[in-house]
């Protein structure tokens, strides 16, 4: 118990990291499908929506949990980060609002407005993806102002949008068949390349911004163990590329593989970033321990989380099981 007590802030940083990773993968695929909808006609768009309809709401809840944990466990960091990111946060919320309601309005509104709601869905998804990537870029740059830093943050916006498009395409490969699946394979290949460029850019920029991060990665003997992260990521890129070249397959048994690969890719990228910034929660300004709130309140939350999270995992798995296989038309009856 003492061991946990003394390390409660670390435990909460871990919980928050899991929430953010879950968010980026899960809402990532449905945001990515929002971007890809720009390439589909009305009936393709309906099928794309059908692959995410039962899931998107719970996917987005991971964002509320992640930001909630930041707020309750690290109030000081929450204040600093959200003050720095006030405007992009507002724009992201605008994007999430538009796409969240467009989900409903695009089928329920009067026919003459349905295309407009489709555009709101696409635009909202794009705005959310770009601003989230931009915020990641600002975070990596330690919130420093300057032309290069802004340019990097903008580039990170497009990088994350590409990554979301990739995970969205792999979700489509898993949940669709026929012509749409074949198109999704093409989208997956193109966005995989863009994601690769984005990840290389972030991996190069992060150690260059901060000598501390440079030392963490490139000092001896750390580098021997750490080299496995970029090596595994590289191997994963290559295998995904080769695998995608052989898709679509007549036999659908391996359709989930690219999505699982995308999940692994996101996890590796996330681990790399987490390693770079640990023990800081606001880069170079505030550590996890310094930002943490009072321990007795964290205990109360931890108790609840330990008890409830297995249930959440259980019924989330149940929901994915209920809607397993290729997506069918969304029907209320």
């Amino acid at each position: 118990m003492d061991l946990i007590s003394n390390n409660l802030p670390i435990v909460f940083a871990g919980l928050m990291a899991i929430s953010i990773l879950a968010y980026v993968i899960l809402d990532g695929y449905d945001l990515g499908i929002g971007l890809l909808m720009a390439r589909g006609d009305r009936s393709e768009r309906d099928r794309m929506i059908a692959t995410i309809g039962p899931f998107w709401d719970a996917n987005e809840t991971w964002l509320v949990l992640g930001i909630g944990l930041l707020l309750v466990a690290f109030p000081a960091a929450h204040g600093m980060i959200l003050t720095e990111l006030y405007l992009p946060v507002a724009l992201m919320l605008l994007g999430l609002t538009l796409r969240g309601v467009a989900f409903e309005f695009r089928v329920k509104a009067q026919v003459r407005f349905q295309n407009a709601w489709d555009r709101a869905f696409i635009g909202g998804s794009l705005l959310a993806a770009l601003t989230q990537g931009y915020m990641l870029g600002r975070y990596i740059m330690g919130f420093q102002n300057g032309l290069w830093q802004e340019a990097f943050a903008l580039a990170a916006g497009f990088g994350l949008a590409a990554a979301y498009t990739f995970v969205g395409s792999t979700w489509l490969i898993a949940k669709t068949e026929g012509e749409l699946q074949a198109r999704a394979v093409g989208w997956a290949r193109a966005s995989l390349l863009l994601t690769l460029i984005g990840m290389i850019a972030v991996s190069l920029a992060t150690p260059l911004v901060s000598p501390r991060i440079f030392d963490r990665w490139f000092s001896f003997p750390n580098i021997i163990g750490l080299a496995s992260i970029p090596l595994m990521t590289g191997a994963l890129f290559l295998s995904l590329w080769i695998f995608l070249r052989r898709m679509p397959r007549a036999d659908h048994s391996l359709d989930l593989v690219p999505f699982l690969g995308a999940m692994a890719l996101f996890t590796l990228g996330f681990l790399g970033l987490a390693y770079s910034f640990y023990p800081y929660i606001v880069p170079e300004k505030l550590t996890i321990r310094a930002a943490a709130s009072a321990t007795e309140s964290l205990w109360i939350i931890l108790l609840g989380a330990v008890f409830v999270l297995p249930f959440i995992a259980g019924y989330t798995a149940f929901s994915y099981y209920v809607f397993r296989g290729k997506a069918r038309e969304l029907r209320y009856d």
Binding site: E60, L63, Y86, A90, T97, S297, F323
Partner: protein, 448 residues
Amino acid sequence: MDPILLARIQFGANISFHILFPTITIALGWVLLFFKLRFNATGNEAWMNAYRFWVKVFALSFALGVVSGITMSFQFGTNWPGFMERVGNIAGPLLAYEVLTAFFLEATFLGIMLFGFRRVPGWAHTLATFLVAFGTTMSAFWILVLNSWMHTPAGFEMREGVAHATDWMAIIFNPSMPYRLGHMLLASGLTCAFLIAGLSAWRWLRQDRGEDVRLALRAGVFLAAALIPVQILVGDLHGLNTLEHQPAKVAAMEGNWETRGNVPLVLFAIPNERERRNDYAIEVPNGASLILKHKADGVVPGLNDHIGKHPPVAPVFYAFRIMVGMGMAMLALSWLGAFLLWRKGEIPKLIAWGFVAMTFSGWVATLAGWYVTEIGRQPWLVTGVLTTAQAASAVPAGMIGTTLALYLAIYALLMAAYISVLFHLARKASGAGSSPPQAYAPRLQPAE
């Protein structure tokens, strides 16, 4: 413009927009469960048709509640950083429990409830409907615990200017919580009942008179008639509780300036805060003393005991009258409608139009009620612990103003879209499952 005022308007606009949708979905979840259980028990397809129509309204309202709720989870931090710094040890766990025990539950089972009818056994679909209703109610429970604690804080101590929890039971069951929770859940029931009655009456008036429309109309009217007297009673108890813990708020609600006996009930007036009196008052002698102290000469607290520390009088005073007036209109219409439905099995056209006019009356009353209690707490954010000004952020006014304009524009658009789509769904439904099928079945058989 003053950045604190802008931050308040921004947060107030967002939370006002947000609360409209949970107010519908909290009760509508239970009504859907009722429809589903009636279908299970009777096998009557009309109950399922009613379910299918109202589950669409649920899905749409839920989506609007989710997106505005996400915005709010960010605005807690961006607009009121001082709130978490000072009372985060209490607010934090309550918000975390809301996310853990409510948000994931409702969001996940919503998928099964909406799209799983043909994929899971009937009982599992009913269970999913129950869990969504339960989740929305749990969410209401936690957020009202926190809100009540801000009005009547308990179970904590201040150490170095920061609140630390000492007794979680006292925090959760703080003095105003049971009243506020009951009042809000009933408000949700009434908002939902009038929405169902109003939209069903509109379909009925458009000659869309299938059995599902009649069943929904009856459910809405009878639910409204049953809940409104309970709400008036609970509202009264809540008022007495407020009198005990926040006398300045009650004084503003009543428009009473001096602490004294034989205080009249002010039906209408223009409160004049500069001269500290009411202009053009229409009063019932001894009314306020009778209502609040149950004695004609009962002493009622006045605003002058709290000069400089009481809320702005006019908005609380007017909002309270709008809420009570709406409640009285709800009582009259729902009882009249219920009586006619009970005795004649139908309601006359005029009464049906009355229900159409009152479709969103629950929204008006709920918002007015929240303005009474929230403005009535000012200048405090947490009574006696933290003022609103202390909690405000250092974000420049220009930035708040820009995003405020953005939010307002999008909320206006969404509100217009929501209401027009509700009526569009109702219009569209009149062709679908409700009227007898042979009336519109396409003639597919070719002539032989």
